[in-house]
Amino acid sequence: MFSFTRKQFTMLVVFTAIVLTMPIWLSPLGAAYPGLMQKFVIYAIFAIGFNILFGLTGYLSFGHAAFLGVGSYTAVWSFKLLSMDMIPALFFAVIFAGIFALFIGYFSLRRSGIYFSILTLAFAQMSYSLAYSVLTPITNGETGLLIARDDPRAIDTMLGVGQSTSGMPMPSLMGFDLTGYSGFYICALVLIVCFFVSQKIFASPFGMALRCIKSNQTRMMYTGFNTKPYMLTAFVISGMFAGLAGGLLAVTDPIAGAERMKWTESGNLVLMTILGGVGTLVGPVIGAWLIKYFENIFSAINTNMLNSFFEFLPDGFQSVMVTVMSKFVGEGWHLTLGLVFVLIVVFLPGGLVEGTERLMRRFRRSSDKPRSSVSSAASEERS
């Protein structure tokens, strides 16, 4: 189970180092707040899971936010009914999201291509509307599901823990507090485990079968593979990752609202994965970080900050620059994101990871002494 090639192992170690040193390398970028870094890490998990479905099988789901929402609601209910400990909360978040994904996947996977996408979108929007209407007893509607002091918390009561503190109880891990940096590191560890699982899936015969589905379903069937259960399993696994991410969101901030299930959230997830690189291991993580960075940092830049940034310019020029740039930051961060997305899709097909690899290969090739045109044509074809 832990057999690993050298390359994979190196990749895991480097990834672990990068994630754990986030507080260091994010501080010059102005993003080293625990709350924000938790978001970075959690959405990376969400994107990794989505990539197992979209990246490997090519089935584009537009409804993964629903699983994130189910995970959040389940975790908060676990806090309310069972215990403030994060372990049962995450466990049930994953299980419930998985069951929900099994149900939605079973129906959606009867179709492929755009029809599959539309079906998942429809299911997710249905869940979103239900959370606001019929299911208010479970979801608490627009207010969002909150924990209260007098919730039953059966396990905690049985063990006699967590009742003594004044104020609102907070999620914990075996009695440890999960606020601030400890919360970030817990989430980071979960992300590393998720990355490891995703590496294993990518390298396994199961992952290979999923890639085969993306490549040629006809050959797949006539090769003796039953494609349906493979796709359903991939769908459920990615739903469980989403549930885990949703559970962690509730752990770091114990409230669950239906806005997490909105279709724009699913759309963001698709953007993250495509931006970073569909079907690559690290691509979705990078994409998730980039989008969350834009969302939180770019949107916070205001005219005053721009003014001080362009102070070195002559007066008239400064005000022009500020007026132009202000359209791209603050409220206008979506515009920047959109432009970045267009540029990447047009000029770096395959996302940041594959695009960079391709650029580097071209760079290396041009710096090599020019070979015969035949061999370069052959490697062009390969890439």
């Binding site: 090639t5 294993k200 396994s204 050959r219 090769t223």
Partner: protein, 257 residues
């Protein structure tokens, strides 16, 4: 229904296939004896591909049944039919274009070993030494070893066909179905493929081949059935079929006698 002799692997029994009233296949009865190569020939539109699709489970017959090794295949899905030991080569090669050539050959081996569905997530493909060695051996035989790391989509058409054939053979099928395996090939590639198929035949493989190219048919087939307008008009040893006046008529439009 005729009695099935024990060494018959595949029995297509009294199959009819209609498409909206159009009779694509009528009264087809075909018995494939183990270890032989059986060619099905016929002019364009005779129903050769329809017959193959009925055998492989892609099309359900209107009536009649396909019996393979004592089990009725009719109504089974393609992957179940493959799991029972029938592999198929397509007219236009169906390969995993985005995967490496090596993985293309390894994937069918996993289907053979692990069945139609198995979640094996924790043992990397790289560690499956047995399957890898087998795949590499086949790649050597098929002259594709040097291209094992390349994307299969980058292969030439002839190489793609060979790859597809290798993908079928790694499963050690009991019956190999070939749909015009040399269509669109150069003379040279055709001859290479014939040699390759002869070699496969030598190992005792049962083969059903649909082919236009008479050179290919007469170099390989032990039995030939001639299909015209959805019916078998002749069946037998190559020499008998060659001299059959009805075959000449179907092919050349020359009325018999």
């Amino acid at each position: 229904m005729t009695e099935t002799p024990p060494n018959v692997v595949l029995h297509v029994a009294d199959v009819f296939k209609n498409f909206d009233g159009l009779k694509a296949l009528s009264d087809i009865d075909l018995q494939i004896v183990e270890g032989t190569t059986h060619a099905i020939i016929g002019p364009n539109g005779a129903g050769k591909s329809t017959l193959l699709n009925v055998i492989i489970g892609r099309l359900p017959p209107t009536s009649g049944a396909v019996v393979f090794d004592g089990t009725v295949l009719t109504g089974m899905s393609p992957h179940e039919i493959n799991q029972r030991g029938i592999s198929r080569v397509f007219q236009t090669p169906e390969i995993f274009a985005d995967l490496s050539v090596l993985y293309n050959i390894m994937a069918p081996a996993f289907a053979k070993r692990d069945g139609a569905f198995r979640i094996n997530m924790f043992r990397p493909v790289e560690d499956e030494a047995e399957i890898r060695e087998e795949a590499e051996k086949l790649l050597h035989e098929f002259g594709l070893y040097d291209r094992r790391e390349d994307h299969a989509g980058a292969l030439s058409r002839g190489d793609k066909r060979r790859l597809e054939l290798a993908m079928c053979l790694i499963q050690r099928p009991r019956l190999l179905l070939l749909d015009e395996p040399t269509a669109g090939m150069s003379r040279h590639d055709t001859n290479t493929t014939i040699e390759l198929l002869k070699d496969i035949k030598q190992r005792g493989m049962t083969i059903v081949i649909i082919e236009h190219d008479m050179h290919v048919v007469f170099s390989l087939a032990d039995q030939i059935s001639v299909l015209a307008q959805g019916r078998f008009i002749a069946s037998g040893q190559p020499q008998e079929v060659k001299d059959d006046p009805r075959v000449k008529e179907a092919y050349l439009g020359v009325p018999a006698e």
